[in-house]
Amino acid sequence: MAIVQSKSQRWRKLAAHLFLLTLCAAVVFPFLVVLSVSLRPGNFASGSLIPQTLSLEHWRYVLGLPYAGPDGRLLEPDLPVLRWLWNSIKVATISGLVTLLFSTTAAYALARMRFAGRRALLTALMLMQMFPAVLALVAIYAIFDRLGSVAPWLGLNTHASLVLAYSGGIAMHVWTLKGYYDTLPQEVEEAARVDGASVWQTFWRVLLPMALPILAVVFLLAFIGAIIEYPVASVLLTQQDQLTLAVGAKLFVHEHNFHWGDFAAAAILSGLPITAVFLLAQRWLIAGLAAGGVKG
């Protein structure tokens, strides 16, 4: 009996490995193709996975350098990838900081203070997450269109409008932060209050320094969220040099304008750092949530 089981076990293991390897291949295949295409001359996907001739033309393209076209003439890149990347980073950094500011303070009140409507507010924040901004795109467009007629620096096609539109998305972060604050011992803050610290000082000098890791995580998550956000940005931004990367990238693989190689280089250039940051933040987040779960 034992021998039979071990034999079937071996077969099962082999099958499992085969299945997992196939799946890993399917996961890795697109990445390998993109890497290969970015190094291959021309924008057409022919040739083997390992390029026979290496060419840096696509990398020159995304870095905004003149590159040699098919006929050997030097061409100027027509899509400003670095500009888009900079726009994305700018918008994401500012909106990450705004989100952090808004959600740390709100979470502090929800974690440490007792006031009427606290439960209801927490539930409302939870509910808000169920309704994505994509349902209100028309209204968002109309609001910023009107804002722009009063204050042009807040209107359509401005980065300020995008930051403002993102600033309301604090629900998830408030919950994350509140969960973390709940795990920190209140006694430290109570001691500070006894020593004469004001509520604000307790928050700013005592609680925030203890919560530094989770602040970093929330900032990173808000940052990534803003970088990869597409629907709102696609509605608010239309001028080519104002686009964020998420909106601009699709111009590469347009039906009639298939910049496959250039897109591949742009995808690696921008995707690699974002992925790395995400993997980092994700690990911290899971650790933070696990810690938050201890108290229940």
């Binding site: 709100a106 203070m113 629900a171 699709k250 590469f252 974002i274 992925t275």
Partner: protein, 501 residues
């Protein structure tokens, strides 16, 4: 205490700033915006000046931002759903009326040639002709803002006239000029060489109707349709925004050529979301079970690689797939052609396009399910499996009798949120197929792979004349559907918690 002092000092400045901004916004006719600004601003000032607003001081910025930029747009969407807001009815009534009253007709035979002369850092315009020369004061060319200038009899010596090439460059600024002579006649640019007298095209009667001065037709404002309309039904452009009640909803549910595509989009949305959840959960659960199998080697490596699709930004991987699936140039068809000699038309065949969407969404979505299920399987007490091993149960029995029943309950609410998420998975549809290929014989363009949100986006922003009102009405319907899903989910979560207790 220094913070309190600072706040007290800033208060008068904040009040003044708010009032100033309010005046500007209100004066420009944005009543709704002004009301919102007043409410938020007043609340902010009260919050930070009153000594009795403990928690609110900390809640205010975040909650206000969420209310203004998340909740308000939702409510505003409901409101727009009852309006005819669209490219043809973009302006409010006052602005449409002002626009029409600005329209002018040229008096035949009143054309007069002109010349431009530089003076200092500005220009002067000289009207020539038999009736005597007329001259403007100095002005700065400005294409953005209309300028009204008086015309006076000329008698001064002027610099040499500008050459034609320079005049061409100034055309946009010249178009914005309105010159008025002593008799009150208004001259505007009629060609590169000439100005001509003009008068308003429409004259407003006491009852608000506009009369066309050329044809004599009367256009009555129609508050039901949002157009100035003549007796024969002719409408003046631009129209204006009015409330149209339930019209959009009636259209969605009763107009056959609209209802049919709407229904098919709705069905595909549900199928897409349902299939996605089913496929990703099946694969994710299978992987979670496999990777939880302790005698399997290299589990950490597998887990890392299989997590990758979740970590890469969606807009990048979706566009990568758009390239990979390209019919003639994509790698996937290259391989299929090499192996089987076929080149499927992933983007122009409706069924294949749907399959492609599901394949790509499976690739994107299974790691999340894998992580979820792994966590839940880890939470199952190990002694259950030990007991089943003692009883001689196989892996299938383990899965069916222990794993599945124990994770199904906590998993269900998460599956419902995944369904709701994919129900509104605008990014995937928009970036991969854009809803195409299109359906035939529809009153508004609708795609075979469009889901409700991408269909709405199309109506509002792409190829259907920016019908914001109609799009908002459909958004409201989606909102109701999502609310229903959320209710079910909350019920499920509560059941789960009750069960735990």
């Amino acid at each position: 205490m220094s913070v309190a002092l600072l706040l007290r000092l800033l208060l008068p400045a904040a009040v003044l700033g708010l009032l100033y901004a309010l005046m500007g916004v209100y004066a420009s006719g944005q009543t709704l915006l002004a009301a919102m600004l007043l409410a938020v601003g007043a609340l902010a000032i009260w919050t930070y000046s009153s000594p009795r607003t403990g928690a609110l001081r900390y809640l205010f910025p975040g909650v206000a931002a969420a209310l203004v930029f998340v909740v308000f747009p939702m409510l505003y969407t409901f409101g727009l759903g009852f309006s005819n807001y669209s490219a043809r009815n973009l302006l409010d009534f006052e602005r449409a009326r002002a626009y029409l009253l600005e329209e002018r007709i040229r008096e035949q035979g009143s054309e007069r040639e002109f010349s431009l002369h530089r003076e200092g850092d500005g220009l002067r315009l000289l009207l020539t002709g038999a009736a005597g020369e007329l001259l403007t004061p100095r002005f700065r060319p400005d294409a953005e803002h209309p300028q009204d200038l008086p015309l006076v009899a000329a008698g001064e010596t002027l610099a040499a006239p500008l050459a034609m090439a320079e005049r061409v460059a100034l055309l946009p600024a010249l178009r914005a000029l309105r010159l008025r002579d002593a008799a009150g006649q208004v001259y505007t640019l009629s060609s590169l060489r000439e100005l001509a007298q003009s008068r308003p095209l429409y004259v407003e009667a006491a009852d608000g109707a506009l009369t066309d001065q050329l044809s004599g037709t009367r256009y009555q404002p129609d508050a039901g349709e949002g157009f100035y309309t003549s007796a024969s039904g002719e409408q003046l452009q631009p129209g204006y925004r009015v409330n149209v009640g339930w019209r959009h909803y009636a259209r969605v549910f009763t107009e056959p050529r609209f209802r049919a595509p709407f229904l098919s989009v709705f069905v595909w949305t549900a199928v897409f979301a349902g299939m996605t959840v089913l496929l990703t959960t099946a694969l994710g659960l299978l992987l979670a079970v496999l990777l939880n199998w302790e005698s399997l080697e290299a589990r950490a490596a597998y887990r890392l690689v299989l997590f990758l699709p979740y970590a890469v930004p969606g807009f990048i991987s979706i566009l990568v797939f758009k390239g990979l699936f390209n019919q003639n140039l994509g790698e996937i068809n290259l391989i299929l052609h090499g192996l089987f000699g076929v080149r499927p038309a992933w983007f122009s065949d409706p069924l294949l396009a749907k399959c492609m969407l599901l394949i790509v969404n499976l690739w994107l979505g299974f790691p999340y399910m894998m992580v979820l299920c792994t966590g839940m399987i880890k939470a199952i007490p190990a002694d259950l499996y030990e007991a089943s091993a003692v009883a001689g149960a196989g892996p299938w029995a383990n899965f069916k009798l222990i794993t599945m029943p124990l994770i199904l309950k906590p998993l269900t609410p998460l599956l419902i949120s995944a369904f709701a998420f994919n129900f509104n998975n605008f990014v995937l549809i928009s970036l991969l197929t854009g809803g195409r290929p299109d359906q035939l014989d529809t009153s508004l363009p609708a795609g075979t792979t469009d889901i409700l949100v991408s269909y709405t986006w199309r109506i509002a922003f792409q190829d259907s004349g920016q019908q914001f009102g109609l799009a908002s009405a459909i958004s409201t319907l989606i909102f109701l559907i999502v609310a229903a899903i959320t209710l079910v989910q909350m019920r499920m979560t509560r059941l789960d918690q009750d069960h735990k207790r």
